[in-house]
Amino acid sequence: MATKQDVWQGTLALMILKTLETLGPQHGYGIARRIEQTSGNLLLVNYGTLYPALLKLEQEGYIASAWGVSDNNRRAKYYRLTRAGKKQIERGAKEWEQTTEILARFLSPGEASS
């Protein structure tokens, strides 16, 4: 079994935003579970990384939060995507694609020799 990876801060933000886009308003626990699941349980999101990241996104205005009640009647803080957040997803995705593409060029054996 592969060891679980901690998430980089920069990519975590994008994952959170994307998760909120897919699931709609969601609480911290839901976000964490979803990220873990989507990663095929390769990523481990503990709250020491998650909540500061959520706070940062909220401060930057990409997400907004409000207290609500969960399915099994627990008081939880729900996060939702803002308009700026939606734009940020596009931008982040593009940047990420570019980065991976560049890196892929370095790593593919054919390109490296030319």
Partner: protein
């Protein structure tokens, strides 16, 4: 790098967005410095919910309550550590730490008032002395007046014993100046300067500016060339022909948008048309006016320069004593010799004046009161050569 050019504008817009976001986050973090407790409570609640949800899930998958709880705590990491990280993100840790240190320092200082007052005094004296020394060094070394052979430049004052209660020296009379210039042999050149305020109108907002009336040779004497146009010529130093003006660099940039075409343009000063003939260099700084006038007038730099063009009223021994005289000594002449030379001319003049009885406005004993020959003025590397004159 691989991005096509069409993207570059979008990129800048995006960057601007990021800056705005960062600023917004910073503002919120500043506000995060307050209301700690409420925010801490909210976070504890949130983490608690998270923990509970996790335990609920594990219970559903068949763990016992104890196992579920243990698993949750292990997996999620310590609550305190999370709180710590969250707080760091919420506020500005460096600032908070600095505030704590400051409060601590203030408490300690209150505890030891003796030590505190000595320390504060020491700092005050130290800062004061440093500032004083710097301001001298600044004027003497860092921003010296960029005149050619500044050591040869002198300021001439008059001494009127009966008016000595107004101050040791008096500004210069235009007629006296004319005689000095004509008859003394110690100076290469002499120049007269008067300060006037003028209203600049016609281009944009009207503005009151400090201007200087100067003898046509002033800039040549100082060894200063205009960056545009020319300096005054001698015939412009006569009333009627003096409607020309030279601008300071700063004024030229501010009011005329640094337009080189300004040369030859007509501007309106006090309702009269003047032709702009020159613009001074940006580095040109004039002697502090209070160093030139014994009776200190405005301390700003003149922004406009026009020819002196003394009128008949001013060319009168009873006319205004209101001008500054600057002279460039000949290389071989000492300030003391120059002073004697000036006073000889002054005395001849005075005896001539005496033929006109109405000039005796100050019936004093005509003893000439000479002051110490020359006082070195550190700030401008020139000497103040007081010229004794009696009435």
């Amino acid at each position: 790098m691989g991005a096509d050019h069409g993207d570059s504008r979008a990129f800048f817009v995006a960057r601007r967005g990021v800056v705005v976001r960062t600023l917004r986050a910073l503002l919120l973090r500043v506000s995060g410095l307050f209301a700690h407790e409420r925010r801490d409570r909210e976070l504890t609640d949130e983490l608690d919910t998270h923990l509970q949800m996790h335990i609920d899930d594990k219970l559903r998958s068949g763990m016992t309550a104890d196992q579920a709880r243990r698993d949750a705590l292990l997996k999620l990491g310590g609550v305190e550590l999370t709180m710590e990280r969250y707080r760091d993100r919420r506020g500005i840790p460096m600032f908070e730490a600095a505030m704590q240190d400051l409060r601590y320092a203030a408490r300690m200082m209150r505890k030891a008032p003796g030590f505190t007052s000595v320390a504060v005094l020491t700092l005050a004296l130290g800062i004061g002395a440093t500032t004083a020394i710097f301001s001298v060094v600044d004027t003497v070394v860092l921003q010296p007046l960029t005149y050619r052979d500044a050591k040869q430049l002198f300021v001439v004052h008059e001494v009127i014993p009966t008016l000595s209660h107004l101050g040791p020296y008096t500004p210069v009379n235009a007629l006296h100046f004319r005689e000095w210039r004509k008859a003394t042999r110690s100076f290469q050149q002499m120049s007269l300067l008067g300060i006037v305020n003028v209203n600049l109108t016609g281009t944009g907002e009207p503005e009151r500016l400090q201007a200087a009336r100067v003898s046509s040779n002033l800039f040549a004497m100082l060894g200063v060339q205009p960056q545009l146009g020319r300096a005054f010529i001698e015939e412009e130093d006569q009333p009627g022909r003096d409607r020309v003006v030279i601008l300071n660099d700063a004024l030229w940039r501010r009011r005329f948008a640094a337009d080189p075409q300004v040369i030859g343009r007509t501007i309106t000063l006090d309702g009269e048309a003047y032709e702009v003939i020159g613009v001074l260099l940006p580095g040109f700084r004039f002697q502090k006016l209070s160093h030139l006038y014994e009776i200190s007038v405005a301390d700003e730099q003149p922004q406009l320069w026009k020819p002196f063009a003394a009128n008949a009223q001013e060319l009168n021994p009873l006319g205004a004593f209101n001008f500054a005289c600057i002279g460039r000594l000949k290389a071989e002449v000492s300030p003391e010799q120059a002073l004697i030379d000036l006073n000889t001319v002054q005395f001849k003049q005075r005896s001539r004046d005496r033929c006109q009885p109405r000039l005796n406005f100050a019936p004093c004993s005509c003893r000439c009161k000479t002051r110490s020959p020359a006082v070195r003025d550190a700030a401008c590397s020139s000497y103040w050569a007081p010229c004794a004159s009696c009435y």
